[in-house]
Amino acid sequence: MADTDSVFEFLHMQIVEYIHDVHGKESENNATTKLEEMGFTIGQRLAERFTKETARFKDDLDVMKYICKEFWTALYKKQIDNLRTNHQGVFVLQDNRFRLLTQISDTEEFIVPAAKYLSLPCGLIRGALANLGIPSIVGAEITTMPMCKFTINIQKH
């Protein structure tokens, strides 16, 4: 049976729909925040689990590299395709084929609604980093489907 892991994406789509229905009535922002928070708790737990047998981290950069390679691979079975940094606390992680966007149609007009599918993944990254001792703000943008760029802004700590 090939390529049947649409299950997770279907679940994620249901969650996004539900949160927007229930928490997004007054403002879209509430729904975004809610999804981000959910993602945060998931990220915290995943970081706890996945770093159980990982050597102690040296510094922030060590953690970022870990997120792009091992963590991403453990989650999505692929690495981040490109990591860039301005060496002042901003990191841009590019995934050329982000798993959670592959089920959503890949025409231009879907880019805007597709953005709501990125709140939870952004929260997930923020939660994982926070649990590994790096407070941050995480945003994402889609340039061409299903390519996605996550921008991580590390907060002073």
Binding site: T41, Q44, R45, A47, E48, R49, T51, R56, K58, G133
Partner: protein, 138 residues
């Protein structure tokens, strides 16, 4: 084997502490609290040194007349402290290490319970059972 097992949050407040005899709880709270400074020192001096094994297990933190205090720190800065009696000479380093690894697995599973929130006191029955086992075996 262990007479006290403790889990300490990132922010250094206790999440869980179990002692062999309940009367000694206060005493061990103090012991564990004191050991946190040693954990911090050990981690920072190790990280600076070039031959840091980067292991989560930190080994013996310090011995007292009656006890030996061991430490372990996860990548998420959760500290585990295990106290054994000094008289207990049967325990090798490797066994202590394995004890911590079991504790770590139990902690991680507990942390993944969707109804548990980070920083809360640990009340999980499953986790308690693992700790009880660590205190029973000899």
């Amino acid at each position: 084997m262990a007479v006290c097992v403790a889990v300490i949050a990132k922010e250094n407040h206790p999440l869980f502490l179990r002692t062999m005899s309940p009367e000694e709880e206060l005493k061990f709270h103090y012991t564990v609290h004191t050991s946190l400074d040693v954990v911090e020192e050990k981690v920072s001096s190790l990280t600076k040194s070039s031959n840091d094994p980067r292991e989560l297990y930190l080994g013996l933190l310090y011995p007292t007349e009656d006890y030996k205090v061991y430490g372990y720190v996860t990548n998420t800065k959760i500290k585990f402290v295990v106290v054994v009696e000094s008289a207990n000479n049967f325990l090798r380093d490797n066994e202590i290490r394995m004890m911590f690894q079991r504790l770590h697995v139990a902690y991680t599973d507990m942390f993944c319970n969707p109804f548990y929130n980070a920083g809360e006191n640990i009340t999980s029955r499953r986790f308690e059972k693992v700790v009880e086992n660590m205190m029973k075996q000899d």
